[in-house]
Amino acid sequence: MSARAARRRWTRAAWRRLALVLLWLGHGAWVLVGPDAGRRWTHTADTLALPAQGAARQWEGWRARRRDDGRSLQDLQAENTRLASDLAALRLQNAQEAPRLAEAEEALRVLGLRKLIPLELSAARVLFSTRPAAFGGLILDQGRDHGLVEDQGVLAPEGIVGRIWSVGPTQAKVLPADAPNASVAVMLIRSRATGVLQGLGASRAHIRYVSNQEVVQPGEAVLTSGLDRVFPRGLLVGHVVRVERGELELELTVQLAAPLDRVSTVLLLPPQPPLEAQQPFVQPEQPKPAGRKKGTP
């Protein structure tokens, strides 16, 4: 045991021999590295550093991707915020311009109606409506200064509205057709039976003086007859919604075509318009043509 330990123990001579060997090998290695030691050491260091450089590149690439992802996320969030603000601004603008747009559309429709009716029509704007009140009506922004007089017919693109009831210097009041004290000379489009429309309120009216011998069906259009000299013949008034046969005459209930609660722009007919001004808005049902006779082309 002790002999083995003694063999293992290094003597001073062995250490000296080891030092000599290391000195000789060290100098030899140093000499063999040669004059390009710097380049070779650099090459060796570069070779040894390749794994670390690869790992560093991976790390830097990961950080760059993460940074780009974060930047793109921030850009998306900023863009989302910007789009949300733009959307809110557009909605606000849309809400602000909606009345003007509706008014413009109404004006276009009125303009179209004005082209259809070959009369000297003037447009007016409805300032406000007092229809919910008793004997209420529509207040127009024009009055005597613009040449308005009483009993001028008032139209909307959908149908008649009423007549001018009173005229002030700058404003005029319209008596709507559904007012209890309003009356319009009308006729049924199919039977051509004439009568007098009297208001019932809530955009409804009934027609009087139509004989119970007439055949009237619900849904039949009601036009102005022109006999009252307020409206010319053929303007749409509304449609029959209920027909009841009375003792002497038919009890006809009519739903007015013009939206009296939502009308904002109206056309004013000239006073005492001619009886015939235009073709009726609603074309009467055309009878089916008879079968061709033999020998006719």
Binding site: W24, H27, G28, V31, P35
Partner: protein, 162 residues
């Protein structure tokens, strides 16, 4: 009759003096080469202490190269000196000297080997280089510095003259 072995202290002092001469003779490369060869081949080798002789040889080689500022890569001279001093020490231990003739013969062989090994290792370290004439001066002056070293190392030994 074998000459007595010089004391360690004497040999260290002689090596230190030789190293100092190597430094001082730096302005004269030919003379420095002679002193350097004498230090490495005669003063540094110690049969019983190879490490000490190796360190003196290394000191001599590095001192020579540093004083000459040999570009571009140093170390070849020190490596050659180390190798030679080990060979010289091994030779001295393997075949002890019998007299000045053996000493001169052995130094001649070692000097030639030193010159060749020195140029080869310097070529390995620094690349191709001119040989110069230092090796010739070293060989020509070999009897002189060999005799001087013998007298310094073995002052009591016979000079060979009868």
């Amino acid at each position: 009759m074998r000459p007595p072995t010089p004391t360690t202290l004497r040999q260290h002092l002689l090596c230190a003096g030789g190293l100092l001469l190597v430094v001082l003779t730096a302005p004269f490369p030919s003379l420095q080469a002679v002193v350097h060869s004498a230090l490495v081949l005669t003063l540094a080798p110690q049969p019983g202490a190879p490490l000490t002789g190796a360190l003196w040889a290394l000191a001599a080689g590095w001192t020579l190269e540093l004083t000459l500022r040999l570009p571009p890569h140093l170390g070849g001279t020190a490596w050659a000196d180390l190798t030679l001093v080990l060979i010289a020490g091994w030779t001295a231990a393997r075949w002890p000297l019998d007299g000045p003739k053996d000493w001169l013969t052995r130094l001649t062989a070692l000097t030639v080997l030193h010159v060749l090994l020195l140029h080869w290792m310097v070529r390995l370290a620094a690349g191709p280089h001119p040989w110069g004439w230092s090796w010739l001066w070293t060989l020509l002056s070999l009897p002189l510095w060999a005799w001087g070293a013998w007298r310094l190392l073995h002052p009591a030994a016979p000079t060979g003259r009868r």
